[in-house]
């Protein structure tokens, strides 16, 4: 009975609408930030490189390249401060944790489709090139093996 009460307390804190994304997705995380007495929404966009924990303790890590520097942020999945998680692009990956992205430079660091990254590595010298263009190439997972 006691555990049931604890479970009930925990379950009340879950997000009303479950966030739907998986590792490898490019997401925009909308977080509430309190500055003084004002509240505003801050957006952190990047690639989900891992999820961990279960229940209330579950978190996910988002990695992005900001001014040429890799930045990772860990968000609790059920935090009320995480307003919403927008999926920009579905990724197709073979691992649960994309720690290998940390070693990558340039465009390869923001791409998740494994086969695609090899092609893009030619352009890896330009680090701050718009990552938006690259996702479109990776968006067609079926077409790539044929090519």
């Amino acid at each position: 009975m006691n555990q049931a009460l604890l479970d009930k307390i925990e379950s009340e804190q879950y997000r009303k609408q479950a966030v739907d994304f998986s590792v490898g997705d490019s997401v925009k995380v909308h977080t509430k930030v309190v500055e003084g007495d004002k509240e505003r929404i801050q957006v952190f966009s990047g690639v989900v490189i891992g999820r961990r924990g279960r229940g209330l303790n579950s978190t996910f890590t988002v990695r992005r390249i900001s001014y040429g520097e890799g930045v990772e942020r860990i968000f609790p999945v059920n935090s009320p401060r995480v307003e919403k998680v927008e999926v920009e692009r579905k990724g197709s990956v073979r691992r649960a944790k994309l720690t290998y992205l940390r070693k990558r430079l340039g465009k390869g660091a923001t791409l998740v489709k494994e086969k695609e990254t090899r092609q893009v590595k030619k352009g890896a010298a330009a680090p701050k090139a718009a990552p938006k263009a690259a996702p479109k190439a990776a968006a067609a997972p079926v077409a790539t093996p044929a090519a």
Binding site: N2, I9, E10, Q13, K32, L56, N57, S79, P80
Partner: protein, 216 residues
């Protein structure tokens, strides 16, 4: 001085209003039954006796049952007296978690988990010996316990191995994060002495008493 008897149910985490995740101990704090109200005139001091954890009448000793019946109470497992109770109650009343409000500070009194006979490293946080550099048979020992012919004796209070735990301990000034009236639960910030299922006393904080503690 407000107080309640309760049972520690376990720990979890909750988000507060600001969206900060805070660790809490969940305490079942009711129903507390008011048994006897002692007064200055009749008893020489003011106090309120609270009973907690309802019980079959046949499980209570007859003298205790007599005392309970005298104050038209219900058979309970645990009885505790609180001096100078700030809440106006009379025998037969039932009080619960709502005695406290969110944001109040409380002291939690419980009996810590028993550890048995423990060495100095666990009991007193000694550092023990070296793990390497040729050390042998001297990893968890206390070291020297005295000096030479003078003083020729071991100082009083020298910390040594011995029985650890199962002693009454108070944790002061813990914030009440949530009060759940329906289930009579108190969610108290941080840890509270004792195992799950142990009795705890939740008392108004001595260092941060309720400012306007009276009407309820």
């Amino acid at each position: 001085m407000l107080g309640l008897l309760g049972i520690k149910l376990g720990q979890t985490r909750v988000y507060d209003d600001k969206g900060i995740l805070r660790p809490v101990t969940v305490v079942l704090a009711g129903p507390n039954r008011v048994l006897q109200c002692k007064t200055q005139e009749s008893d020489g001091y003011n106090a309120v006796q609270l009973g907690f954890d309802d019980q079959k009448e046949q499980r209570v000793t007859k003298p205790l049952l007599g005392h309970i019946k005298k104050h038209n109470g219900v058979a309970v497992k645990k009885i505790q007296e609180f001096r100078d109770f700030t809440l106006a109650v009379k025998p037969g009343d039932v009080i619960g978690a709502t005695v406290f409000a969110k944001g109040d500070f409380v002291d939690a009194i419980g009996v810590t988990k028993g550890r048995g006979f423990e060495g100095v490293m666990k009991r007193h946080n000694f550092r023990g010996g070296d793990a390497s550099h040729g050390s042998k048979g001297w990893r968890r020992r206390p070291g020297a316990i005295g000096q030479r012919l003078f003083p020729g004796t071991v100082m009083r209070g020298m910390r040594m191995p011995g029985h650890m735990g199962q002693v009454k301990r108070t944790v002061q000034s813990l914030e009440v994060i949530q009060v759940r009236e329906a289930e009579n639960l108190l969610l108290i910030f941080g840890a509270i002495p004792g195992a799950k299922g142990d009795y705890v006393v939740i008392r108004e904080s001595k260092k941060h008493p309720k400012v306007a503690a009276t009407s309820k």
